[in-house]
Amino acid sequence: MDGTQTMTREFQEIDSIISKHKGHHGELLSILEETQLLNGQKFLSEEALNHVALRTGVPLSRVYNVVTFFSFFNLKPQGKHTVTVCRGTACHTKGSKALLDDLGLMLGCSKALEDGESFFTTPDNQFTISTVACFGQCALAPVVAVDGVIYSNVTTARLQKLLGKISKGRKKS
């Protein structure tokens, strides 16, 4: 299937999402939430947003306002696996910055992290690295979450092992 066909199918799916929510309270939010799940990479593409705006009549600037306000909306493709590094004070003093830098080196995204991007996805779409202000697990600092599982007292070596395992698992499947 080529790109345009995929897009047309996605547009049809968006249309049915829109008709399902039409007239309901918080319509736009629900539409966008479901639309984000359509492409398997958990993000809202520009084409998808255009289509939502066109069909709902909501101005593009308003749509953009909503998708940038709520942190659960992504405008860039999300990797299969998420690595979230805590940047709270406790984790920071226990070396979370160094962890983040090492992650950047391991996955080739030092530049983006240096530029202060709050998240980055590797070109092969396997990993999305993001930071969080605080997990509230300060006693276990430094804390890193991989695919939602929280790991405590993380070191670069441990992280390397973990990511290696995930990558290997990926190769097998």
Partner: protein, 608 residues
């Protein structure tokens, strides 16, 4: 229903006020001013700056008076040490993230942030910067946005959305990352923005300003090889005096002409000449559409913000737009054909500068189709694409002209009164009123009536289409056929009339649309501030100038008659078609996909 009056206390004295109005308004009624920054009458009350705080008895913290309301027995204090401290702190917090570039900022000495900081006695810089520096948006040919100077007052968003119904800009992000954005950060030049500049007109700071072209124009004026001529829109003569420190609405036609000569323009002409020409063409176009059962209603096309709005939002109904170019563009093509030939000037050496009340005119002048004079000469002279030139080379707003006067040390109020140059500087009263909402309609009716009936108009004043009402209607009897006409200003009102057309419910034959509130006299390039009171004063001067003119109907302008006799031959004729009429582009909402203009622009750049 009459609002209930209630008793309140302000600073210990008793007053009455309508129940439930904002404290700020109640105080104003009582003659007590409260300083404000983000609030703008009729535009926005988003309660973001905290400058308007007051004490209200019983409230634990200070209250923002622009949004908090009065009730029976409310006791308000508007001045205390605590209030002054809080106001000052709130401004200091804004300034912490503000680049202090006043000396090189276009809004220097005309900036509400600067004024409030000085009024409140802000002296030191105690807070550290918390925001990252953001890039400028320079994608628009009309406006520049500097998000670093933005104080998030929300006025631009309110004007663009509620008044103009364009919604080109909105807030994005949250918390400290909140900013005014275009969709996907594409920039104003790459989204459905009409370039109307109303956002720049209401911005309290230098965060949205016109693209300043004064340096380029100064350079052209210094070039001895160029013949630099200038045209002035009707609304400039009631705006430039104000920008030079005179009273709002001062009518300064003659001084403006004198000032332009002193800047070094070789000839000072008038866009009003081609406003008369527009009436000739547009009037005949209307009559032709009526008699040939063409697309009706026909809508005026002088306002380039409106044109772009129609192209974005009503791309399938563009046949309703008159094909006439705006007076600015008609001037460019007439100057570089008829006038250049008459005077033996090489049109390639001619520079046409427009002084406009409008930021959208900057964009209009650079539309790729606006090169009619070059197209006219190209084959006759054997010129190549390397010789290509626009009909209008530079567009300056009223504010930029004021800047040029000041830079040149011109004492505006002491200037003598001088006359425009001829033959393309003479105009009638019908052309003056183009500057006010309803003016193009009235001017057209004066001519159309006489052309159709062959009888002189008993009363040239069509007062039904004057005034600041959003949509105005009138009926005119043309030799037994009655036509209905309508006039709308602001794009929000224009949208209503266009929606009516798309539903096939429009009762009108002819509609005038002006993008800006009040018409061009309230344009996005006019002096800041522009309030409804000021708009009314400018309108009074416009109608005064109409009365001053010996001739008040476009078809009576002897120089227009000569232009047709010597050159164009007849309205809607072959030459008119090429030089004075234009086409429109179906843009739709997602502009970056319509690359016709972009492609042509690139070709142009290569040609240069």
């Amino acid at each position: 229903m009459e609002t209930k009056m209630i008793n309140i206390k302000i600073n210990g004295s008793d007053y009455q006020a309508p129940d439930g109005i904002p404290i700020l308004d109640a105080c104003k009624r009582a003659g007590i001013e409260i300083p404000t920054l983000c609030y703008l009458e009729d535009v926005s009350r988003n309660s973001s700056c905290g400058v308007c705080v007051v004490e209200v008895k019983g409230a634990r913290s200070l209250v923002r008076s622009c949004t908090a309301c009065v009730h029976e027995g409310t006791e308000i204090v508007t001045n205390s040490a605590r209030i002054r401290d809080a106001r000052k702190t709130n401004v200091e917090l804004i300034l912490a993230n503000h680049p202090k570039d006043c000396l090189s900022c276009l809004r220097n000495q005309n900036c509400e942030l600067q004024t409030i900081a000085s009024d409140l006695g802000v002296k030191d810089d105690r807070f550290v910067r918390t925001k990252k520096e953001l890039p400028l948006d320079t994608s628009s040919s009309s406006l520049i946005r500097d998000p670093n100077k933005c104080i998030l007052c929300g006025r631009c968003i309110a004007v663009c959305g509620t008044v103009q119904t364009v919604y080109a800009i909105g807030l994005s992000g949250r918390g400290i990352k909140t900013k005014v954005s275009t969709y996907m950060e594409k920039g104003l030049g790459n989204v459905a923005c009409t370039n109307c500049g109303q956002c720049a007109l209401v911005c309290p700071t230098g965060a949205i300003v016109e693209r300043d072209d004064t340096d380029d124009v100064f350079e052209e004026l210094m070039n001895p090889d160029k013949v630099v001529v200038v045209q002035t829109a009707p609304a400039i003569r009631v705006g430039i005096g104000e920008a030079m420190g005179m009273e709002s609405g001062s009518l300064v036609t003659g001084k403006m002409v004198a000032g332009l000569r002193r800047l070094g323009f070789n000839k000072v002409f008038d866009t009003q000449f081609t406003a008369d020409l527009t009436i000739m063409e547009e009037g005949h176009e209307l009559l032709k559409r009526i008699s040939n059962k063409g697309t009706l209603p026909m809508i005026t096309s002088c306002s380039p913000g409106w044109i772009k709005f129609a192209e974005h939002f009503f791309p399938n109904s563009l046949s309703h737009l008159s094909t006439c170019k705006s007076p600015q563009q008609m001037f460019g093509s007439v100057a570089k054909t008829y006038y250049a030939a008459k005077m033996g000037i090489d049109p390639r050496k001619m520079v046409v500068v427009s002084i406009m009340p409008c930021t959208a005119k900057k964009y209009e002048a650079k539309r790729p189709e606006m090169m009619s004079a070059f197209e006219h000469w190209k084959d006759k002279k054997g010129w190549s694409q390397d010789d290509a030139f626009y009909d209008v080379d530079y567009v300056l707003t009223t504010r930029e002209l004021a800047r040029m006067f000041k830079e040149s040390g011109i004492q505006f109020s002491n200037l003598p009164v001088e006359e425009f140059d001829n033959p393309i500087g003479e105009s009638t009263g019908a052309a003056v009123i183009f500057g006010a909402t309803g003016g193009v309609m009235e001017a057209a009716l004066r001519t159309v009536y006489e052309v159709v009936t062959g009888k002189p108009l008993a009363n040239v004043n069509f007062t039904a289409v004057r005034g600041m009402e959003g949509i105005k209607e009138a009926e005119v009897d043309l030799n037994g056929t009655t036509i209905k006409v309508a006039v709308a200003h602001t794009l929000g009102n224009a949208r209503k009339l266009f929606e009516q057309i798309e539903k096939k419910e429009s009762p009108y034959a002819f509609i005038e649309v002006m993008t800006c509130p009040g018409g061009c006299l309230g344009g996005g390039g006019q002096p800041i501030p522009t309030t409804w009171d000021i708009r009314k004063k400018r309108a009074e001067s416009i109608y005064q100038e109409d009365l001053n003119k010996p001739l008040r109907k476009s078809h009576e302008n002897p120089h227009i008659a000569a232009l047709y006799k010597e050159f164009l031959k007849e309205p809607l004729g072959h030459l008119s078609h090429h030089l004075l009429h234009t086409t429109y582009e179906k843009r739709g909402l997602f502009v970056w996909k319509s690359n016709g203009v972009e492609k042509k622009k690139k070709e142009m750049e290569h040609a240069k």
